[in-house]
Symmetry: C2
Subunit: 199 residues, 2 copies
DNA sequence: ATATATACTGAACATTCATTCAGTATCGTA
DNA sequence: TACGATACTGAATGAATGTTCAGTATATAT
């Protein structure tokens, strides 16, 4: 039970990769199972053999993506000394990872489909919460270290999350280079608003 | 030909209002013609008699909304003296109007449906462009008057648009009061990042 | 070599939804 | 009053799409 299992995992990965690509490009709803079938050569039934449903496939990709993000961040975090640098680092990773890694589009799309209180919506809400917690800790850290002015930490974290959400939508048409410039400028504006020493 | 025409216009308005309410609440895709039928008591056919299509109905609402926004802004603009005040004013109107007035949700949703290069997508792109032009002029004005530091005007306008796009998504669950606080804080952060005199 | 679990196929099914259209009702007007 | 236009009805259509399932192939274990 080896060659078979390996092959099976391979097809599962192939399906996941194709689906990811399509979701980035077209969004969740606009991507049909049929599209994935065409892209993989695999059959409909086989996709349902490997994944519970379309939604299940999507959730699988989200999890995968989140894990990778976390891992990459851990690798980078130690390289930054100041909180300021960390915030630039986050923005950079966002452009590098999130724009490549696709669910941005589908995720935003999902946000607006309150139709079904599906697992996915819960999942996304959960994701936003964890973002907020993350930013909150980061900003608090900056305040404690004296880099940032004291202010409403929770509010600022929401604002930063909002800013990045908006940026991810706006920069969809941009190439990576331009997006990077835009994100940097955004963090710049955000920091000079909360940093003690004016630039 | 009067009573009839008035009645007709009335039903058209009733349909539009109901559709607006549903689009805000559920988003564009999640709102079916059937939903609008249920909400109005009008028949499917009648909706198609008054509006070309679901998309046409949506576009109608967008136009209506944009006109109202512009009008309300004109009434307020003269009340603000500094550009700073104007920006707060814009934010305030956004919360007061945009959150009430609904298409926010559906509009964002549309952004992610690149499936069809439909009129609507073009329309929304156009809207974003006009926003950017507006913010650009406002920010330029602030720079000229000496209120703002000199900086990349286009970039800053994109950032402000992004920020507000993100805020509109994040504040969906908030009540008007809390949203207002959040938006004010956001503009505060944005301005203290580009205003010469630190707070 | 045979049996069995695993991997896979694709036609059929079920549902949702926008849109159409042939027909009916209502109102203004000649 | 009768005719014509305008306003409205709702069943039927058609297309898209997620999901199921009975059946087939393949590889591993006995």
């Amino acid at each position: 039970m080896n060659k078979k299992r390996l092959q099976s995992e391979d097809t599962k990965k192939r399906v996941a990769d194709a689906a990811r690509g399509l979701f980035v490009k077209k969004g969740y709803k606009a991507t049909s199972i049929e599209d994935i079938v065409s892209a993989t050569g695999s059959s409909k039934g086989n996709i349902y053999y490997h994944f519970k449903s379309k939604e299940g496939l999507f959730l699988y990709l989200i999890d995968e993506w989140e894990q990778e993000w976390e891992q990459q961040w851990k690798e980078k975090e130690s390289l930054y000394t100041t909180t300021t640098d960390k915030m630039y680092g986050v923005a950079e990773q966002m452009v590098l990872e999130d724009l490549n890694h696709p669910l941005t589009k589908s995720a935003d799309e999902f946000f607006d489909n309150s139709e079904k209180p599906s697992d996915v919506e819960e999942r996304i809400t959960e994701m936003v919460k964890s973002h907020l917690t993350f930013y909150q800790a980061l900003i608090q850290q900056g305040m404690d270290s004296g880099e940032f002015k004291h202010n409403d930490v929770e509010g600022l974290s929401i604002i930063f999350e909002s800013l990045t959400m908006g940026l991810s939508q706006m920069s969809r048409k941009l190439n990576q280079k331009d997006a990077l410039v835009l994100y940097r400028l955004a963090v710049n504006v955000f920091l000079n608003g909360i940093t003690k020493n004016a630039t």
